[in-house]
Symmetry: C2
Subunit: 123 residues, 2 copies
DNA sequence: GTAATTGCAAATAATTTGCTGGGTG
DNA sequence: CACCCAGCAAATTATTTGCAATTAC
């Protein structure tokens, strides 16, 4: 069910948000259970855990690598349609000799809403 | 002094490590002070705060954008000599219409030490 | 003397864990 | 019956903060 919630949103919600959604279907679910299942799903490669500067994690129901834009005003995370540059991993491996498994690329700026105001607040 | 410690290492230390170093010069310094100064330096753009998956932050004495390699075994963060692709920011801005200030790119894999063992431990 | 900065300890916030009990095959 | 997973609450960890004392100018 938690996987369903994450797959069903294009947002990149926090554990708390997932918890609130889950409660709508299953009011007696506990936050600990949500965290436990998020970790299981992450370890199974079904979802991704994102931590971009904030004190808390966000979760992404799309396990395929893609790039993100993070609004520095409100913290919103949105997907970018940029092609994933897998060859960069080979470049790094070749140059450094390191074993590279994956990479992450994020852009930071202001979303339209926060651009309007002087400074954004929460979401 | 804290800035000096960070500038003087090519590692990407944790606040605790900075604290330990600072204590060598100034034994009565407190961890709170270290955190306070790290935040001041970060806000002033003198250092960067990195949080790559772990539960704690690392700090980088080099404020100029550059890319990192993160070892999934031991958590070590090392700098990469890849050229910084600033034009990606324009690409994103053009495609999405968003206001982009900066970007971050990290590669994940195993460092030579952790590649040797089955799985790495702490540092 | 006033303002900025510290040490210390308590507070906070997100996440994890131990334990007990219920549900399932 | 054996086991897995949930609920709940307490524990943990990194970081922040309030406050009184100290330092700097």
């Amino acid at each position: 069910m938690i996987l369903g919630i994450l797959r069903g949103t294009k947002n990149h919600p926090t554990a708390d948000w997932v918890y609130e959604q889950a409660r709508k279907e299953l009011p007696e679910i506990s936050l600990g259970t949500v965290y436990r299942n998020l970790n299981v799903l992450r370890d199974a490669g079904e979802i991704m855990e994102l931590n971009y500067g904030s004190t808390f994690s966000r979760f992404d129901g799309n396990p395929l690598n893609h790039y993100h834009f993070v609004c520095e005003g409100c913290g919103q995370v949105t997907d970018l349609e940029l092609p994933v540059m897998d060859k960069l991993e080979q470049d790094v491996a070749r140059i450094t000799g390191l074993q590279v498994f994956h990479h992450r690329l994020e852009f930071y700026g202001l979303c339209p809403k926060c651009k309007g105001k002087g400074n954004g607040e929460s979401e």
